[in-house]
């Protein structure tokens, strides 16, 4: 059963960073493990209608990773980066680059912080720092092309309406 905990996105206009906040009904060590263990990652990190493949996964500092999401048509969407710090069970710092962009070099610095809360609960705050405001807005939108079913449906409906009118 999913909890009722809500995901919060903080992305102020004109800034080149965004935050993702979420609380979990599980102790910090466990949540941290779900973020760093390859077997666990494939069970939740992929968008709901896609398979996820891990080509490489070295969570420790200096290691690198490459994950691939595969849609039902077999299209692959890869991303990769380098781990900068793994401070168990408090903090993960790594770079992130989406392979699907028209040019390479648009790299994001990601920091995930894991805060222990009372009653064996955990708060996770992920900060993503982009190279520019345009990178932030554009990459999130580009990344969502494959990521969000709801947005696709919304946009499909919108475009269908445009075609009718």
């Amino acid at each position: 059963m999913a909890s009722n905990n809500q995901t919060e996105i903080i992305a102020e206009p004109g800034k080149q960073e965004l935050f993702i906040k979420r609380e979990f009904e599980a102790p910090r060590e466990l949540v941290f493990r779900a973020f760093t263990d390859a077997e666990m990652l494939v069970k939740w990190l992929g968008p709901c209608n896609m398979k996820m493949r891990i080509d490489k996964h070295e969570a420790q500092a200096g290691g690198s990773y490459r994950y691939v999401h595969i849609d039902p048509q077999g299209n692959e969407y890869g991303f990769h980066g380098v781990s900068h710090e793994m401070l168990v069970p408090e903090r993960l710092i790594r770079t992130f680059e989406f392979d699907g962009l028209p040019e390479s070099g648009h790299v994001v610095l990601e920091t995930a912080r894991f805060e222990a809360l009372p009653n064996e609960r955990t708060r996770v705050i992920i900060q993503s720092v982009f190279q520019s405001v345009a990178d932030r807005d554009g990459m999130v939108q580009a990344g969502m092309e494959y990521g969000v079913k709801e947005s696709h449906q919304m946009l499909d409906e919108f475009l269908a309406k445009q075609l009718v009118n």
């Binding site: 990190l45 709901c48 345009a134």
Partner: protein
């Protein structure tokens, strides 16, 4: 048809030059020459970007006398720029899956 259009919109705004073009004309329609003056790339390249943006409905070209002005289609952009809520839904779906996994792990840990 709708599927193809959707892909085009996201591909269109994934390109930094095209995003700059949209920003440039968002509140102020410009003709092709005035747009091209703002970029280092060639005029034909800008023309190609504008063609792509026109094809997916992000900008419309309006004739005024002999000049052709490019205007941003803000209604369409408004739908796309609602990205924070869409992004939130994407992560909410992933984290809901993580909730399930954490419940499984907690149950396993409780067993002797």
């Amino acid at each position: 048809m709708a599927l193809q259009s959707r892909r085009d919109v996201f591909q269109a705004i994934a390109d930094p030059t095209r995003r700059e073009i949209i920003n440039l004309i968002a509140f102020n329609p410009l003709n092709l020459n005035s747009i091209a003056e703002n970029f280092d790339v060639s005029r034909p390249a800008i023309s190609q970007h504008i063609k792509i943006l026109t094809e997916c409905g992000l900008i419309v070209i309006k004739k005024q006398g002999r000049e052709r002005y490019c205007e941003a289609s803000l209604q369409q952009l408004g739908e796309v720029s609602n990205w924070i809520e869409q992004y939130r839904k994407l992560w909410q779906a992933k984290f809901n899956a993580l909730d399930d996994l954490l419940e499984e792990l907690k149950a396993k840990n409780k067993k002797p």
